[in-house]
Amino acid sequence: MNYVAGILGKLNIHVFPHDKVTLGAAVSIVLGGFIAILFMTYTKRWKWLWKEWLTSVDPKKIGVMYIIVGLLMLVRGGADALMMKTQQATSVGASHGVLSATTFQQLFSAHGTIMIFFAAMGLMFGLINLVLPIQIGARDVAFPFLNLTSFWLFAAGMILINLSLGIGEFSTAGWLAYPPLSELRYSPGVGVDYWIWSLQIAGIGSLLSGINFFVTIVKMRCSGMNLMKMPMFVWSVLGSTLLIMFAFPILTVTLTLLFLDRTMGMHFFTGGFGGNPMMYVNLIWAWGHPEVYILILPAFGIYSEIVATFSRKRLFGYTSMVWAIGAITVLSFSVWLHHFFTMGAGADVNGFFGIMTMVIAIPTGVKVFNWLFTMFRGRINFSTPMYWFMGFIGLFTVGGVAGVVMSVPPADFQLHNSLFLVAHFHTMIVGGVVFGYLAGITYWFPKIFGFRLNERLGRWSFWCWFIGFLLAFIPLYILGLMGATRRLDHYSASLGWQPLFIVSGIGAGIIAIGVGIFVLQIALSIIQRKDNIDYTGDPWNGRTLEWSIPSPAPFYNFAISPIVHDRDPFWEAKRQSNKDTDEVPHYKDIVMPKNSGIAPIIGMLSVAFGFGMIWHVWWLCIAALVTIIVVIIVRSSDDHTEFIVPAKEIERIETEYAARKAQAPKRRYA
């Protein structure tokens, strides 16, 4: 028996799911994977997938992989949400709905975790990878191999969290796993361990990405681009990566301490032996609040790019935008306590954090006014990205005002843990973050793939999201004020809440249709790509450097490193030159990083390591860890990680692009 425990840890035959919902989800994931494998084998694409994508250090390809994973996780988290909404609409009075209480708890824990860590973070790093290097006129990031490794650590966390569907169970302790509930005594299963290790591994990936992009921005801007000439998206990413560097180590520590409590019998957050559960809540929010700004800042950057491009105007108040980002970056570390005013820190402490929370609304308000003034007297072109932006302005203002309401500690005592809070943060994260990333995908899609997305479906998707959102979350504000708490899987019929919950469920269904249309939009646009080809590389009459190179962007981005004299350099260049330059460009050899199979190997070994930690299969942990170390040593001894693209090859590619550009039909900017 001991022998078996040594090999299998806590694994046994009973770890496979028993309840129908989880089993169904697990089976459909396995089936989907199986079909994908069959398709890949049938079309003989494995080698292509490995050589062109999984091992690629090209940030544009890494970005696409991040976005694919992010969208998949958006669907997974969305399915969780739909099931919860169905339960809440039906589980009233004598009826107990469709889900067991345990499944419901796993669903809300998984929904929050997956949406923040794997959907939002995935889309964010995806977009940063796609455009940031091009926007600063660079050919790559500071550490290309590390960039790919970060992606694979992110993917490893994603795989682990989805494994919990089929093997064992997921946490029932909510998306932030507060102790003492998340301690071994009250959550003896592997659910919390799945939560810890998938976040720990993905979190380390995010930290490394943060460092990587920070160094990229500081060290790799093209000549002439001083800080105050950087595009606003680059500024926003700079703020976001600074926050990652200061916040994610706290998450690493917090998760480690919870792991030590659960696995080594330590007493950081336990009820007895001198542990302090409140310390966990402080630590997790000292990471968690900056995390919200880590997600929203790049979305702010995207909106700034979009509103300037589609209003045909310079961004209004560039300097104040920069200072607003700086202020938000600094202030976001001084408000974390507003997540737990009710825990008794005292009036003075609550007062301080309440005021700091109100203060942070000021720079955010500055940004909103700057965006509106950018549109003022602009020649606005209502393309799809602009729809997302307009939707964002409305929702974000509503959500922001709700946030200021809750920043008043006495009010928060009433609203804490209510559906009002749930409605508030969904307004900020869906209306702010998700709209921003979907707008960003639509905006930069042609740069990566060489054709635009279908405008009509894009608009339909937007309207579904927007109307669905209002239907899903306005009722939650009302329910919250009526006293409905969050994470409720059953309530009394006499409360009269059911109609509002049903409306909210219908809204969630409409959002799901919006997600479906977005995916359909991508599929249909691929099929009809000939109709929407971007010949010039500048489909929107853009302003920044990424539009100055062809679409799809060549793997080296810039044949000749650009020199920047102005903010909006490409816009200025277009305005000043009314003739095509006839001088023959002089190309030089370019040094580019080689692809690496080591990063995916590290990712898969991390899955094995995490799995071993979760199930106490210690030999697997040790084997995986030792192999990771050996692989890193091998990689660090490799002196041939780069190759040279000869000038002739670049000339060939550039000539091809020029020929394509010549075929372009006459411009049709609005």
Binding site: H267, F273, M279
Partner: protein, 205 residues
């Protein structure tokens, strides 16, 4: 700084190499800052929990200052020899580099064995990390530093192997620079551990 005065120049680094060096070293500094935040969180945790002895022993009864002072002196000396090794690397003396870093390595091993002896003693006398919140925080903070030292030693031994066989190549020199930053950083963290955990703990503050 003109190129001629830097170690890079003595190695006849080309422009791209120089750029790569500056990126890598800057990136490593940024990593060190994040590690600082990590230790800051652990110090904060220790500060919160250090009175929570739950009827068990406090730092005052557990810590042996002479032992810790020895550890401290060993680690400080290893930082000094690490610095001498970097000077030798700048002067391009391969054997001196190997010698000074071997000394650094041995001092690191000595530090680590003293620390492990202390840990072992605590566990044997029934004062393991399971005893109280205070001891959990103590083992985790000091242990995380020890883990960093272990990783540093593993890194160093691999690096010394590479220098022994491949000489002071660009790649090896860059890694040596990074290692020395890492090692000095761990030294600074230890000074804080020595002060906050051991000295203040022994005084019962």
């Amino acid at each position: 700084m003109s190129d001629a005065s830097t170690p890079a120049a003595s190695l006849r680094l080309s422009g791209t190499d120089h750029e790569k060096n500056s990126k890598t070293v800057f990136g490593f500094w940024v990593y060190i800052m994040t590690d600082c935040v990590l230790f800051a969180s652990l110090f904060a945790t220790y500060a919160v929990l250090h009175h929570n002895i739950f009827g068990g022993p406090s730092g005052q009864t557990l810590f042996s200052l002479p032992n810790v002072l020895t550890e401290t002196l060993i680690l400080l000396t290893s930082s000094f020899t690490c610095g001498l090794g970097i000077l030798a690397a700048r002067a391009n003396h391969k054997n001196k580099v190997l010698f000074w870093f071997l000394i650094t390595f041995l001092l690191g091993i000595a530090f680590l064995s003293l620390e492990l002896t202390e840990f072992r003693h605590l566990v044997i006398t029934g004062n393991s990390w399971r005893r109280s919140g205070f001891l959990s925080a103590f083992f985790t903070l000091v242990g995380t530093h020890g883990l960093h030292i272990s990783i540093g030693l593993l890194w160093l031994v691999v690096l010394l192997g590479k220098i022994f066989s491949g000489g002071l190549s660009k790649n090896n020199l860059r890694q040596l620079t990074l290692f020395s930053i890492f090692w000095h950083f761990l030294d600074i963290i230890w000074i804080f551990i020595f002060t906050i955990v051991y000295l203040m703990g022994s005084l019962g503050k």
